[in-house]
């Protein structure tokens, strides 16, 4: 047998990151060999990240054996088919970043090239009209994707809007049933081994010491271990992502249920509306350098889709991530590892990736550097790709109505983002390994390629026109066959779980 297996794991902090980590580890690591302890304090609130999620969350739930209907009921979830961006390119503009590709690759050429060509010929259709997810979202209709790949209704995926606090509670129940030990208490001291600086134990306010071989820092912005003890530097990206505050409030949902998140650009940031079954989650992300708290609050409160049901709460943050999210015997997961604002709903996704990769590169007590290095490289790559994608939304805009937008338009951007933007701008090409549907967001933001794929000029335009029109009609026809989102959810909530 391996000489030195890890036996004790301590997760510092509950909340979404802590309980997702606990659930995944207890599911993977047999209780006979591993002791998993989660320390949290009821006195310390959680941020409750990630009410809007990405489709990957389904894989996480499936890996835990969680039934979708149980999940939907427990987290008051609704369905999400994408994000609608309003007023981002220009005031009055709107586009969808859908959970589907737009159109089909035909003759080896991506669909958006055909659309770009047709636009030059006077076509006025919008790109969203060729996306099943975007059109279903607009029509407020949904059914799970058809498994028959030939079907028009197979070409999309979906995610959820959830009550993140309820999700953490749901996973806490799951974890505790499977043997995770929850310790109530506030950590006062983190103790390190003198010879190598590894974390030895944590001391709680009641004097209790909890030791472990591996510590997972899910302490949120406090970053108790990765920052305060191990002092892993934080790479600051606030010059690229200058929003640093958010005011959040819950409200009644007096409008029809939308199967998508709404992200509306404001003069110094943007505002979200996330519908869950019984209420609406609302927030206004802003740059305090360009807008004061009261003004941000006023904008939020005067644009709520229903009566506020909680007191507004203000959060502060700084965009960036740790130089290493795994250092010595501590892995930081969640907000302790870094922060990227929720514009593309990536918080839970980053938690999930942190957990998945931790399991993939799970250490023994030797903590071999190669595995740690691989983990850090992989997580850094996720952070960089998402960072670039979010910056893209701010930087590619024609808005000129505030100092904030002027700054975003004119700021310097990361070299790798510049590379990707030039690739798209010159010839409409995308790097498929990137995060998100670049063509939809670039075009939605107003970044039109200077040139579409010139091979299209070798095809008769009438043929292209006919092909596109047929495709558009097939999308419309397919969407009409779906039940409404209300009908679908009602059925899911009422059915008894199998």
């Amino acid at each position: 047998m391996q000489a030195n297996p890890i036996k004790n794991i301590v997760i510092v902090g509950g909340g979404t990151a802590g309980w997702m980590t606990a659930a995944a580890l207890v599911n993977k690591l047999p209780a006979a060999h591993y002791t998993i302890t989660l320390i949290e304090s009821d006195a310390i609130g959680t941020v409750g990240v990630g009410e809007s999620t990405l489709p990957h969350i389904s894989q996480f739930n499936v890996s835990l054996g969680i039934n979708e209907r149980d999940f939907i009921r427990a987290t008051k979830a609704t369905i999400k088919l994408g994000i609608q961006f309003k007023d981002w390119a220009n005031l009055g503009d709107s586009y969808m970043h859908p959970f589907s590709e737009t159109g089909h690759v035909t003759q080896g050429i991506d669909f958006h090239h055909y659309w770009l060509k047709s636009q030059t010929m006077g076509d006025t259709t919008i790109l969203d009209e060729y996306s099943v997810a975007a059109m279903a979202a607009e029509a407020k209709r949904f059914a799970p994707p058809n498994k028959n790949r030939a079907s028009m209704l197979s070409a999309y995926t979906y995610s959820y809007h959830i009550d993140a606090t309820a999700y953490a509670k749901f996973l806490r129940d799951y974890s505790e049933k499977k043997g995770v030990k929850r310790v109530e208490g506030k950590i006062t001291t983190v103790n390190q081994h003198s010879h190598n600086g590894f974390i030895k134990s944590v001391t709680l306010a009641n004097g209790e010491q909890v030791s472990a071989d591996l510590f997972v820092d899910c302490s949120g912005f406090a970053s108790l271990i990765i920052d305060k003890s191990l002092q892993v530097p934080f790479t600051d990206w606030s010059h690229w992502l200058p929003t640093d505050s958010a005011v959040v409030v819950q409200s009644e949902r007096d409008i029809a249920l939308n199967p998508y998140t709404i992200a509306t650009a404001r003069s110094a940031g943007w505002q979200w509306q996330i519908p869950i079954q019984h209420r609406m989650g609302n927030g206004h992300v802003y740059a305090s350098q360009y807008m004061n708290d009261q003004a941000a609050l006023d904008i939020l409160m005067t644009t709520l889709p229903g009566k506020a049901t909680t007191e507004p709460r203000t959060l502060r943050f700084k965009a960036g991530c740790r130089e290493k999210t795994w250092h010595k015997n501590c892995v930081a997961i969640g907000l302790s590892s870094g922060f990227l604002e929720p514009l593309e709903s990536t918080s839970i996704f980053l938690i999930q990736m942190g957990i998945t990769k931790l399991i993939e590169f799970f250490p023994d007590q030797h903590f071999h550097q190669a595995g740690i290095k691989q983990y850090n490289q992989t997580m850094q790559s996720f952070y960089n790709k998402i960072r670039n994608f979010i910056i893209l939304h701010y930087h590619v805009t024609q808005r000129n109505d505030s100092d904030f937008w002027r700054y975003c338009r004119e700021m310097s951007i990361p070299d790798d983002l510049q590379y990707l933007m030039t690739l798209f701008k010159e010839g409409g090409r995308v790097d498929r390994s990137q995060f998100g549907v670049w063509s939809a967001v670039c075009i939605g933001q107003g970044l039109r390629p200077q040139h579409y794929d010139a091979r299209i000029d070798n095809l008769p335009y009438e043929k292209i026109k006919l092909y596109m029109e047929n495709y558009r009609q097939q999308v419309q026809k397919a969407v009409k066959t779906l039940p409404t989102i209300d009908e679908y959810l009602k059925q899911q909530i009422q059915c008894t779980a199998v």
């Binding site: 047998m1 391996q2 297996p5 890890i6 993977k28 690591l29 047999p30 006979a32 060999h33 591993y34 003759q107 080896g108 990769k357 399991i359 993939e360 590169f361 799970f362 250490p363 023994d364 030797h366 071999h368 550097q369 190669a370 595995g371 290095k373 691989q374 992989t378 590379y419 030039t422 690739l423 701008k425 010159e426 010839g427 090409r429 790097d431 200077q450 040139h451 579409y452 794929d453 010139a454 091979r455 000029d457 070798n458 095809l459």
Partner: protein
Amino acid sequence: MTDKATNNQAIHHVVIVGGDTIGWTAAMGLARGLQGQRVNIILINEGDNQQCNLEPELIHTSNHVLDFHQSMGVNEPYLFAHGHGQYTCARQYQHWITEQADFFIGNDSFLSTFNGFGIHHLASLCQHKNVSDYSFAAQIAKQHKSIPPVNERPKQLGPFNTGMIINSQGYKGFIRGAALHLGVKVINSSIEVVALDNDTGFVKQLTLTNGQQLPVDLLIDNSGSHSKIMQASLAVDYKELRDDIPFNTLFSITLPSNTEKFINKHYTTITANKEGWLEHSILQGTSYYTQLCQNVGDEEHTLIDNFLTEIGADKSAGKQINKYPLRFGHSERFFHNNCIVIGHAAGYVGSPSISNLVLAQRAISRLLDLFPTKACFSSTAAEYNRLTNNDYGEANDMFMLYLYLAATNEPNSIPKWAKAKEELSANLQQKIALFEHTGRYEDQLNAMINSPTWINLLNYCCRKTKCYDPLLAALDEQQMQLHLTQLKGDISTQVEKLPTIS
């Protein structure tokens, strides 16, 4: 006409220089991919005697050759009926490991798993370093059995892909026929003058020795390792790996297969020897041998004698030996201005796991994916270069892993390879370090080489350590042992049922 309109003009004139297998592969691939696009594709065949078109008589490929043909609309039965090739399902390695006579690596798509762990983890824990015992493909090869059709391969034993060994001349004829059928025009001549545009530096016209002048929108340079266009005309450097890789020559010979010594087989044998390595395949009754070595000239006759001795041939066969100079390395850029290099002009980092044909097929698919306009935007070229560079980096790492394997196991008998241990790229060092104690490999492997190839070779490189996932500690070792025994038995039973190769 505006600048914008000019930039976005579609390419109409594609000229391919070099009519070897790779040149015709490019011609066929582009003709198929651009079908209906009114693109005029001309291949300049500089003749079989030109150094640039030298290629060994046999090409070994992975499953990519099948995928490439599939994407070109050529299905497997048609390819095998007309492509002058034969399925392979494994490679046999001789004399690479001190205390082990030989081992096989199957063409598995991925290794079978137990509770989510690759079988090599279990094998390592149970001290069975020979992972090929758990590879259906390797056992078929080892037992000289026929490869079952795709739909008759038991899925629970792990999926495997077939590669091909191809007679290069026969295959070239096949692919040439397809290209001509798709409208490619061939000109048997040589390039006399390469005319560049004064403003852009693009190749705008080629003048041939027969006096013909060809307009060029896009040029595919397959003119050999000292390429006439990319290197000579466009002054793009070729990054040689002479200091890292101690080989510069391939000797080859074909002989009637001696059935007393060799039975027919579905694998290539790669034998490490003091010169380099010897490869042997049998295709349709003929044995194909190649010997990789370092030939500095003054001892060429000794190298040839050793080669003949190694294969058991009479010295009189020496006259039949062909000699191919190799220039290990690759072009600094693969797409520059309106010129793209493929084949030996792009580089050579071939190993038993990856051939230049596969690298070229991937390059053609990539070119179609990023097909440029007449302006050949620098961003498109940069993306093409980035992706192609990844392929060559991966192929180079694979080559260096062979040297590392030999150097790790035979440090005294092959001293010149020992240097390889100090010349590994950062990526390869990380691959080895990651595998060494945990049996893991990075999650984003380049799809060009199947993960089982990396796993098997790394496994033998790191055979003195326990390469298994620490999480295995939580599983029952007896159960794992039982699973391995059962899997081995199941594979053996299934293999026994297969007919022996006729």
